[in-house]
Amino acid sequence: MLELSSLYKIFNTGSTNEVNALQDVNLSVEEGSFVCILGTNGSGKSTLLNAIAGNFFPDAGRVILDGKNITKWPEHKRACHIGRVFQNPFSGTAPGMSIGENLVLAAKRGKRRGLGWGLTAAMVRELKTRVKDLDMGLEDRLDTPIGKLSGGQRQALTLLMSSWLRPDLLLLDEHTAALDPTTAAKVIELTEKIVCGGNLTTLMVTHSMQQAVKLGDRIVMMHRGKIRYDFRGEEKKMMKVTDLLFLFEELRRKDQLDPGA
């Protein structure tokens, strides 16, 4: 489904702050797979997601989605196939616009937007039923500006928006990191429901090892712009938080022995 081959990205090229954000990243994700991406701070997890979504073009390498080489596609063109939820709950919704308007924007993701009326009666009915599924009591508040909602509510709506039209690929970038534990748990529950319910191919960046252990069928660990570990199938199922912690320790030890690596 998704094929990354020898992806490179260097930030601040030539300066003292040069960062090798992605170094020869190769990753192949099958249809319907739910991959958790773990990594230390600055390991390139978010950069990887941004490279797939098209926030920038990689310096080298190829991004292939569903057999199409999308390496040179601009972000908005890739959006036809990709749904996204950001780390910042404020990034995924337009605060000044109503819940209904935000959702109707998502209902047209990657489609031609013409002079047709946005919030038609039929659309409002569909919005209501699907928002009701969130079980947050938002279905009667479709006219409320989304900026008035809490971060958790906004993140839940962003999740709903990103999967409104079935995306070929769902990218979740630490989408619970900015939420309090209870809200985060709710959003994760919703994530599971949406991803598993729709059998969506998903990449989820997370800081939480509990989430990585509990969710998905594959764990990819990144460190310093490289993929260092990749567990799937039975191996992934056996993974425990302690195992992951141990691996992180090991990466850190190796760094101390060989700081240049």
């Binding site: 979504a53 601009p74 972000e75 908005h76 063109k77 959006a79 036809c80 990709i82 996204r84 950001f86 404020f90 990034s91 995924g92 919704t93 337009a94 605060p95 000044g96 616009m97 308007e101 935000n102 109707v104 924007l105 998502a106 047209k108 993701r109 990657g110 489609k111 937007r113 013409g114 002079l115 047709g116 009326w117 946005g118 919030l119 500006p145 928006m161 990103s162």
Partner: protein
């Protein structure tokens, strides 16, 4: 009374400017100074075409198109070359100054004895209400032609407000508003934000140019200086409109921008009548907008201090 009706008519014409500034300032969040150039551009195009014998309606439509082109240029410079939006506007505004001189051939082009949209109304009014008919309006006598003109301007601005409102509720218009509100989000939903900005700024300047065109026809001349201060004028109108309605519903905001333009024009006309030096007009407008921008934050702070005490 003629004075009052004239002021309201000009206010309604300038409401088009106010709607244009509303789009750039409130939808896209940047004060687009191209407006100062495109306002004159609209007037210049109309005046040049009318004096060369073109039908005034066509000359007006051409002015709108010209304004859109000017705006599209600003949007293109900003999005394609990643130049700060304000600077992009300044570049186009400056370039337009020369363009306007070329279009008009001189710095001032009178439209006296020419057919304009408004001479049509004079004739139309003579035709319907009888030549030079004076109407008694609640104790004041006004000419029928003035009333027809006022009605026409009102209908034009009503039509454009409704069109704009409808547009902002369509799929593409909703996406345009989202571009100003959260561009990261709307890109992730598959919208080419560059095109949205170019199109939006073009629309904004089209309206501004239309205001310039109609004002030139109403006052009977186009002048290369007439756009100076128009951005701040439009901002003042938009801000007054927001103060009038104090709600963030889109329909009310558009209505507010129109009412703000008319009210601001009335206030200025009255101040000038009372003997305000016309040379001070721009200074006072700028000071007004400055206060309107600063006061809300200042009042919040004093409220907080009071609460703490």
């Amino acid at each position: 009374m003629t004075f009052l009706i004239g002021s309201i008519t000009i206010g309604l014409i300038l409401a088009l400017l106010s709607l244009g500034i509303f789009i750039s300032f409130r939808i896209f969040n940047f004060p687009d100074i191209t407006a100062e150039g495109s306002f004159t551009f609209g007037a210049a195009i109309t005046a040049a075409f009318i004096t060369s014998g073109t039908n005034p309606a066509i000359a007006t439509i051409l002015a709108f198109t010209g304004g859109m082109l000017a705006g599209a240029t600003t949007g293109f410079i900003h999005t394609r070359f990643k130049i700060n939006p304000l600077l992009s506007g300044i570049l186009v505004m400056t370039a337009l100054y020369s363009v306007n001189l070329h279009v008009m051939g001189k710095s001032n082009l009178p439209l006296l004895n020419q057919r304009t949209l408004f001479t049509w109304f004079g004739k139309w009014s003579d035709h319907i209400s009888g030549p030079g008919r004076i109407i008694n309006l609640i104790g004041w006598s006004v000419t029928a032609a003035d009333l027809w003109t006022l009605l026409f301007c009102f209908l034009v601005i009503l039509a454009f407000s409704l069109l704009l409102l409808w547009f902002f509720r369509t799929n593409i218009g909703t996406a345009m508003r989202a571009t100003g509100d959260n561009d990261q989000m709307i890109r992730a939903l598959g919208v080419n934000t560059k095109w949205m900005i170019i199109f939006g700024v073009a629309l904004s300047n089209g309206l501004v140019a239309l205001a310039g065109s109609m004002l030139a026809q109403f006052q009977g001349f186009a002048d290369v200086q007439m756009g100076i201060g128009m951005l701040v004028w439009g901002l003042a109108s938009v801000i007054i409109g927001e103060a009038l309605i104090s709600e963030s519903k889109l329909g009310l905001l558009v209505a507010g921008a129109v009412m703000g333009a008319v009210l601001f024009r009335l206030l200025v006309a009255i101040a000038l009548r009372w003997g305000m030096n016309p040379n001070d007009l721009k200074l006072i407008t700028a000071a007004f907008v400055f206060l309107a921008l600063v006061l809300p934050g200042f009042m919040k702070q004093t409220k907080k201090i009071k609460l703490i005490k």
